[in-house]
Symmetry: C3
Subunit: 148 residues, 3 copies
């Protein structure tokens, strides 16, 4: 597979990797696993079910996925070294009554499968947080298996 | 150990593995680790401390553990290949005033130790979520070490 | 590096490792990774943004980090066997309007880097929980890479 060519074909331009919001790093490699720090969408704040729609939050989850992929590329040089998205933990800034977290986080999951194909199919939890840093709508972290 | 025989002796019948609630898979294997997607109880919704009792939520955590074990068996063929439950992350759909999350998630932890013995003893966090998918009472994910 | 000497130089005395609050263990080793159970601060309860200040919660995150390091030392014998703090998951017991979780969890992250140097630099998520066990202000878990 040639993931960079696939990104071009899909018309996807990866964002710049933002500076960490605290005293941590974007990614740590151990063995053939990458543990990525949680990321959020660019310029979208609010709580789903209160002042943000589910549709917008889903777009935000996709945007967050783009940043996660940008982190992978920065770390690895080439996305062809991604052998599997292992695990996604998707956190939705949500009202206590919200119940459709899977649809929101599918915004990220769909992207991973578009970009990486079957290697993008991952285990996942999608859950509701009462608050997130800087009031971002979603925060997503992931574990990635790579080729040495 | 013969875990399937132990299940019979304990009178435990594993549930069917439900379809994923979004665009993800139940489990991904990397090396000798399984990362399992978060699961919830069958047919139990509500928020502990609001409209569900702690006792019911504990039963729900046990029920969720049964589904997690069913996912392991489906993936591995035999539960004898489980060498260790490494990590459990237990999320309780809880009122902001609730404080007894460990007792709730013990419903799952106790089950893992009944079924797997010392191999079932795991690291864990048990925490409170403001909302969960489809208003399930608990969601639990885990990491499992397996024999090749 | 000689981490125990560095602890002395920094004037850091590690706390006793408390008993687990439920049916789990403090840490499980698989391969060269340690998965640590979530820990909280000693004797500090409340919700940031409601009845606890951000500054106090940051101190609590540092205190929690001390307990996590104590767990590592108990498991490994010597902290010199820690080759990398891989991942930190920092959970803040927070009001729905709180937005400065990274500053709170930096209390733990700063400590890890003081103690372990570059080996302490980790990937991280810092998020807001609606409730935590026994109303602790923060709960933090981590994954650590070790030397055999």
């Amino acid at each position: 597979m040639d993931i960079d060519a696939r990104l071009d074909k899909l018309g996807i331009v990866l964002p710049e990797v933002p500076d960490p919001a605290g005293n941590y790093v974007h990614v740590v490699r151990t063995g053939n696993l990458l543990f990525l720090a949680g990321k959020g969408p660019r310029g979208s704040t609010g709580k789903v079910g209160t002042n943000i729609t589910e549709t917008r939050a889903q777009e935000d989850a996709r945007d967050t996925g783009l940043t996660l992929i940008a982190v992978m590329r920065q770390e690895l040089g080439s996305l062809d070294r991604v052998s599997r998205i292992v695990k996604v933990f998707g956190m939705v800034n949500a009202a206590p009554t919200f119940s459709n977290h899977p649809a929101v986080i599918d915004g990220c999951s769909d992207l991973f499968i578009e970009v990486f194909g079957d290697a993008g199919r991952h285990a996942r939890s999608a859950v509701g947080m009462s608050s997130l840093p800087n009031e971002i709508t979603v925060e997503i972290e992931c574990i990635v298996e790579i080729i040495d």
